[in-house]
Assembly symmetry: C2
Homo-oligomer: 328 residues x 2
């Protein structure tokens, strides 16, 4: 990221200070960082007497409905034209989806983002990929604007930081993330309440599906490969949706022993989507053998056939990628 291509927080603060009507948007399928950042900025701008419209492409996820102000999100663009539109946590204009026209109609636009995206689609583009969360940038912005950070704002920002750092368990958990989180708790954010309300509400259908995945686990290659299987009947019986499989393979990583963990799920009869995780072995090379790909420690592919044959092929390929020692 060259410094020429990124604006400064001061530039973002300047255009927001001048605006009277602000449109705030975030990316499609909004997450805790986008939602929390948007609401925190809204609270602060409204406290300065500005008219603020918060807009999402999709309804606010249920688990963030507890955030102060979450009820104000609309999925319709505002009727009055804003002076300024702010895109939060968006690495590229395409991520704004159907809100892009409303964003682009504003005479001045601003992008505040922590992703690695190269597209600069706004008037002011403050992009800092070293930051683990956009909420940390909004915190800096509010400090620059001398905004009072009350308990509501602190709650929204803490939720954003916690969401994007996996509640301080991901590798992007920087000293800044923890230090700012500490300040936000001092300002009124409730860390245990936020953890409970935003991270731990699993729909029953997903809990049932996760249960079936865990109960299906089988060990192969002397316990070094662990495989879970979810077939179409599991989805029917639990009324689970395809997206309910999100994160299940990562839960399987908690099992002691294996070097490679595999979850296969049937998307259509005898068509399987495969997720593979490892702590050391290169599973992207395993998945490439089946036309898939990914990262060294997290990869995926698709296969066809009866479950038993698919598992056999995957286990054989995984066994070849195993290092002589080590455990997950």
């Amino acid at each position: 990221m060259s410094s020429e291509s990124s604006s400064t927080p001061a530039a973002a603060a300047a255009i927001l200070s001048e605006a009277a009507r602000v449109l705030i948007v975030t990316h499609e399928n909004p997450d805790g960082d986008g939602i929390g950042s948007a609401l925190a900025l809204r609270h602060a701008l409204r406290a300065r007497g500005k008219e603020v419209h918060c807009c999402l492409t999709d309804p606010c996820p249920e688990k963030y409905a507890f955030l102060p102000g979450a009820e104000v999100f609309t999925t319709a663009a505002p009727e009055t034209e804003p002076d300024c539109a702010v895109a939060l946590d968006c690495d590229g204009s395409a991520r704004l989806g159907r809100l892009l026209p409303a964003f682009e109609r504003a005479p001045v636009t601003c992008s505040i983002d922590h992703h690695n995206g190269l597209q600069r689609f706004a008037t002011v583009n403050w992009v800092d990929p070293r930051r683990p969360a956009t909420a940390l940038m909004v915190y800096e912005l509010l400090r620059l604007l001398c905004a009072e950070i009350d308990a509501d704002i602190a709650t929204c920002l803490y939720t954003g930081v916690a969401a994007d750092t996996g509640f301080f368990r991901f590798q992007n958990t920087t000293p800044e993330a923890l230090a700012v989180a500490g300040e936000l708790v001092g300002l009124g954010a409730d860390p245990s309440g936020i953890a409970r309300r935003s991270a731990e509400a699993v729909p029953l259908r997903k809990a049932l599906l996760t249960g079936r995945a865990l109960a299906s686990l089988g060990q192969y290659v002397e316990g070094r490969v662990l495989v879970g299987v979810l077939d179409l009947e599991d989805f029917v019986a639990t009324e689970a949706r395809p997206e309910d499989t999100d994160g299940i393979v990562d839960q399987l990583k908690q099992v002691a022993g294996p070097q490679i963990v595999i979850l296969i799920r049937e998307s259509e009869p005898r068509r399987w989507r495969v997720s593979m995780r490892s702590q050391e072995a290169d599973v992207s090379s395993v998945c490439r053998r089946f036309g898939g790909g990914g990262h060294a420690l997290a990869a995926g592919c698709s296969l066809e056939g009866p479950a038993s044959e698919v598992v056999e092929q995957l286990v054989d390929a995984a066994a070849a990628a195993l290092s002589p020692g080590g455990a997950l």
Copy 2:
């Protein structure tokens, strides 16, 4: 806690500065805070040329074996007499178990602890129950001693803070806990590595049992009561042990919706142990109706009969305890 009954960090620093041979102990069944605090203090005192002996009543838990210096713990008291013995994270001398005589033989003793215990069993007793972890007190002590906090010490202290705050999810997650954690990451602690390595690796048999508990979940009282059932066949099929049920009921609390969560497990044919959890409703009163008890939000009891009848009795009793609104 009256200030008369507690010494200051300066008093602890003074006696440690004067000692040449230090014995460090922590409580029986040592946890991450005790282990991390002991190793951090050991590293710092050794860097000042002191002879340090770290002693545990029990072997160091496997999940903390990655901590720098964990290999030096012994379960035998030192042969040479220390000038000073330090008890970390011990709320009362009884918690030292069979190490108490060695501790008491030292001419000067020091207790550094964050629990609410009232017993003052050392020469210097620095007790601060407002602190979420003893590791935070050791951090303050090392700052007072002008000790260099290297990556090894930072790793040990971070592990202590994270362990006692449930990786920043418990209600005791103070601004100080997060701020110090941030400083420790800046000094070389690896938050994601520590989270991964100190997380309990789940035995496969427990993962299989957890899966069966999740897959068994049923909703009652319009979704306000959630019940999981583990029968003897589940234990036989998974080869799980009775202790493998530890924590499963708390995992069920992650399901969105219910106000009361119940797990019943068959200990002998048609004899059921019941664990009940709630966020608001008083489940101890529910369990007392069946001869059990516990806390308002976490209680248990035992019942006899076929699973379906036991579930029906429990659900009826739970329904009576439900508040008009609210969710878990």
